[in-house]
């Protein structure tokens, strides 16, 4: 379990989970639990994700054609679904990343004027 206190954790913004999933899958196919762990790890446990909300997000991305999945077996020989980025998803990730950076820069400038 995370050892950080509640004040330093941030609720995930609406819609950002989708971008995070795309970003994680950029590194290669992963199954559901791995994706969540990767998000928690790479955000240094700052982002609090209700793990279950991963599933509606995955289905949303499949429906849009940004990710797809294959059946496979995981490291300890368990059945698992491996999600992977489609070409369309890769393009979308670039779009979303640019959008996100623009937004983040703008907000930073407002909050901390130079």
């Amino acid at each position: 379990m995370s050892t950080r206190s509640a004040e330093t954790r941030v609720e995930l913004l609406q819609g950002t989970l989708d971008v995070l999933i795309l970003r994680i899958l950029r590194l290669g196919p992963a199954h559901g639990h791995e994706i969540i762990k990767a998000i928690e790890r790479s955000s240094e446990d700052v982002l609090r994700v209700e793990q279950g909300s991963l599933y509606p997000a995955l289905h949303r991305l499949i429906k849009r054609g940004w990710i797809d999945f294959d059946h496979g077996t995981s490291e300890n020989n368990r059945r698992a679904k491996y999600y992977r980025l489609t070409r369309k998803g890769r393009r979308q990730l670039d779009v979303e990343t640019t959008k996100w950076e623009t937004l983040a820069r703008a907000i930073t400038r407002v909050l901390r004027p130079a």
Binding site: M1, G32, H33, I36, E50, Q51, G52, S53, Y55, P56, H59, R60, I62, K63, D68, F69, R78, R79, A80, K81
Partner: protein
């Protein structure tokens, strides 16, 4: 679609995820229980997550609808009695509406099954403010030549053909058509060929096109039937082709199985060849105008060529009045997509009135169902309160309750369509009962389900759902969960009394309106049946004999009929017999311009008939002055005539009628009036008897006659004896036998339809309203059990308790009557043209209807009221 299948594995995926997380936690040193709990905590609400995931693929409303339907089905199955009553009530209401609308669709709305029917127009002839749709053959031929206006134009009419060998004649519906009939309609044969202009020439070889229906019925769709000769009116006619399935002629309601060209009429029915001349106006006209012509352009061009045609028909010898009359008709046009039908004029208004009636019955049925649902909603208050307390929104609960209503309506609608398909046949039979004794004249309407009927039923079902479901649903959700949950389970909080009472009062007023309507129609039928129209019909048999086809004419014809008549008089059971050219109510008459003492009568044409001796005796029409015709009044004797009292009143004001003479204008032969008879109607029962002149048939008659035979007992034997004697001598022409009573009933088909259906629906409405009243009161009594118990405990008498409930009944009945009477008054004015012998506000009918309604209402209210008096105060109070 891989994604959707993905959804099916969601449960496994989530379980897999939780196991991994649990394992991770155990690896971090937690106990298995803590690890599992922590994993769940971190995952969130599994049910909610699943719902959110489903929502990605399946729209939420649809998902909820499925849930609601599922839940509704379960609820309805739990109370099968309630569900059955509701579904049956709705099926009745929806079925009646679908049935009547189906008939309206088939008769008034449906397009002919031809190419681009919306391009067709029908021509109408306007003269003296009257519009008619009938044209003469020369007019049709002239109009068909107007190529710059019409791509194609045709004239047609239906008829009955006697088909088959002489010993087994079968009357069959047929049509006479002009050369371009099939071309105008744009039909393609499914076998052989259709009629072409070459078939419509004087003396052309005889060719017939049969319908697909007839081909299937008579030949089992045998291709070798094409080219075979078919005996029609005793003459072999070659079947050249079969028209496409679904097509049965351009006249809706009269199926024409055999179609032949107009120009071969003299070969098939030589006695009627004059119908092709300028005098016979009997053809309906449909045309396909040239494209790009607006309606106004079309009318303008038609007016020009029509004027040319008319100017060609006047001759220099004509009097100025006759010339003006010949030039006066004008043309108009209407959309021709629905073809033509003589039934429309007769049944349009009755069907529209009946549509209104069944609409009202449906409203009453909906009110009953709404009341049932209200009662149930009250009983389900705790359930609803629980759902609201658990966080369901009010809208969501209303939707759930409406889904239940919708399900009931769909079940009712489905059953209703089944009812309607059965009832539609019954309706067509009712209408058909007026169309004569032959199967060939029966009315054939295609009641097959059309998209319009389906759309109508769907609309009715949806409206019904909202009508009966909305109020109870909203009412049910107006509950305070706190209050309801805390109340005792046997108590129902909130009042629904006022709404339910208002609904019942509405039912009462609608029932009153329908009862008054039914009373008016029944009374109209009764008035027409019992009216003294100057002849008797009971016990009179009519035998239609036409010897002209067999080659008889003039003196030989009259001698033949005299022999037939003499034989008929000698038959056992026959009291009196005669014959005539026209019989009362046969559906037509002879009109002649008449002169009295050489002076033509100003008012135009009068009714005429040719009759044999004893005609007035046979029909029990009294001779008030002078004598009857005798057999001595023959062709060699001085001309004689008998007139009726109306004739004397109008045209012989001075001197004894027996000293005066009448003649047909233009004929040199004067007829001495030898008798005066009482008035009798001919064309319709509603008609006032017209001034009538009778000539002696054996003096100057010709053409087909009808024997009238009167006898005390059954005349079936006499009928078959006459047929056995006469038929062999008349090859190719069937002897038709029917009673005068059935001829009279045929003329009352519209009135009978209205009386039968209006009283059936009125009775149904009354029954539904009584059930509604009973239901509401029974429920009120149950609800007020404890109140009544207290009253009884405090010393209230039985009569006082009875009065308590009956006061409710009286109030609802009074309210319903107060609204129903003005509504009935307004509605009955719409049908006043259909009534006879009474006014739309006939006081007797209204009083009877109110009395029937009040009595039924009091009876329906008395049962629950009596139950209220039986309330045991101890039991009632213990319930608290």
């Amino acid at each position: 679609m891989k994604g959707r299948r993905h959804l099916d594995a969601l449960d496994d995926d989530i379980r897999e995820h939780l196991e991994r997380e649990t394992q991770d936690n155990i690896d971090r040193g937690m106990t298995p229980e803590d690890a599992r709990a922590a994993a769940h905590r971190k995952f969130g609400n599994v049910a909610l997550i699943k719902e959110d995931t489903r929502a990605v693929w399946i729209p939420v409303w649809f998902d909820q609808l499925l849930q609601d339907a599922h839940y509704a089905l379960r609820t309805l199955r739990r109370s099968p009695g309630f569900s059955a009553v509701v579904v049956l009530t709705l099926a009745l209401g929806i079925g009646l509406n679908t049935g009547i609308f189906g008939l309206i669709d088939a008769l008034l709305l449906r397009s002919l099954p031809v190419r681009n029917p919306q391009q067709l127009i029908a021509l109408m002839r306007i003269q003296g403010g009257q519009s008619g749709e009938s044209f003469s053959y020369p007019q049709v031929r002239f109009l068909a030549e107007q190529n710059e206006i019409f791509l194609s134009l045709c004239g047609f009419s239906v008829d009955t053909f006697n088909v088959g060998p002489p010993e087994a004649l079968e009357p069959t519906g047929g049509a006479w058509v002009s050369a371009n009939y099939y071309q105008t309609l744009g039909l393609v044969p499914i076998a052989g060929r259709l009629l072409a202009p070459d078939d419509d020439r004087p003396g052309a070889s005889l060719a017939a096109v049969i319908t697909d229906n007839y081909w299937a019925r008579k030949f089992g769709r045998d291709p070798s039937a094409i080219g075979r000769p078919l005996p029609v009116e005793g003459v072999p006619v070659t079947i050249v082709g079969v028209s496409p399935p679904g097509f049965s002629g351009a006249i809706v309601g009269n199926a024409a199985d055999i179609t032949v060209a107009l120009n071969v009429l003299p070969q098939l029915k030589p006695e009627r060849k004059s119908m092709l001349g300028v005098g016979g106006r009997w053809l309906k006209v449909l045309a396909r105008p040239r494209e790009g012509l607006s309606r106004d352009q079309l009318k303008a061009r038609l007016a020009i060529v029509w004027a040319q045609y008319l100017s060609g028909t006047v001759t220099p010898q004509m009097s100025p009045a006759a010339r003006a009359r010949a030039l006066s008709p004008t043309l108009d046009l209407r959309a021709g997509a629905t073809g033509s039908s003589p039934l429309r004029g007769q049944f349009r208004q009755p069907l529209l009135v009946l549509m209104g009636v069944v609409g009202l019955v449906l409203i009453i049925a909906c009110v009953n169902v709404a009341n049932l649902l209200l009662a149930r909603a009250a009983a389900r208050q705790r359930e609803v309160a629980l759902r609201l307390a658990l966080g369901a929104s009010r809208g969501r609960v209303v939707r759930q309750l409406l889904t239940e209503s919708g399900l009931l309506a769909i079940l009712g609608g489905g059953l209703g369509i089944a009812f309607a398909s059965f009832g539609g046949g019954v309706l067509v039979n009712l209408i058909s009962s007026g169309s004569g004794p032959d199967a060939s004249e029966a009315i054939a309407l295609d009641l097959g389900t059309s998209w319009r009927v389906l759309a109508f039923t769907t609309l009715v079902t949806v409206t019904t759902t909202l009508l009966f479901g909305l109020a109870p649903a909203f009412r049910a959700t107006v509950v305070d969960p706190n209050l309801t949950m805390n109340a005792s389970p046997n108590r129902v909080t909130g009042s629904r009394g006022r709404l339910a009472s208002a609904l019942v009062a509405a039912q009462v007023s609608i029932s009153l309106l329908l009862l008054i309507g039914a009373g008016l129609f029944v009374q109209t039928l009764q008035n027409l049946r019992t009216l003294d129209r100057g002849f008797r019909h009971e016990g009179v048999l009519l035998v239609n004999v036409d010897a002209t086809r067999a080659g008889y004419d003039g003196t030989r014809l009259r001698a033949f009929y005299q022999q037939v008549l003499a034989n008929a008089e000698r038959l056992p059971g026959v009291t009196a017999a005669s014959l005539s050219s026209i019989t009362p109510l046969m559906g037509g008459g002879i009109s002649l311009p008449i002169a009295v003492n050489g002076q033509p009568i100003a008012s135009g044409e009068l009714h005429g008939n040719l009759v044999a001796p004893r005609y007035f005796e046979t029909l029990s029409t009294p001779i008030v002055l002078g004598r009857d015709f005798t057999l001595r009044d023959d062709a060699t004797a001085p001309g004689v005539a008998i007139v009726n009292e109306a004739f004397v009143r109008h045209h012989m004001p001075n001197g004894s009628p027996l000293e005066q003479r009448v003649s047909v204008v233009g004929s040199p032969r004067e007829l001495q009036v030898v008798g005066v008879v009482k008035d009798a109607v001919y064309e319709g029962l509603r008609q006032t008897p017209p001034p009538t002149v009778y000539g002696a048939y054996f003096q100057s008659g010709g053409g087909a006659v009808t024997l009238e035979i009167y006898g005390g007992g059954s005349l079936a034997q006499a009928a078959s004896a006459i047929r056995a004697e006469v038929q062999p001598k008349l090859a190719g022409k069937l002897v038709k036998i029917q009673t005068l009573t059935s001829q009279l009933e045929s003329s009352l088909v519209q009135e009978r339809l209205m009386a039968t259906l209006a009283s059936a629906f009125g009775g149904l409405a009354l029954m539904l309203a009584a059930v509604g009243l009973y239901g509401v009161l029974a429920y009120t009594v149950v609800r007020r059990t404890s109140e009544i118990g207290i009253r009884v405990a405090l010393g209230a008498q039985r009569s006082q308790v009875l009065g308590l409930v009956m006061r409710d009944v009286t109030r609802m009945l009074a309210l319903g009557t107060a609204f129903g009477l003005p509504a009935a008054w307004a509605a009955s004015r719409l049908v006043s043209s259909m009534l006879f012998g009474l006014a739309a506000n006939d006081p007797v009918t209204i009083v009877l209807a109110v009395a029937l309604l009040v009595m039924t209402g009091l009876l329906a209210g008395y049962l629950p009221a009596r139950r209220a008096t039986k309330v045991d105060p101890l039991v009632a109070l213990r319930c608290e």
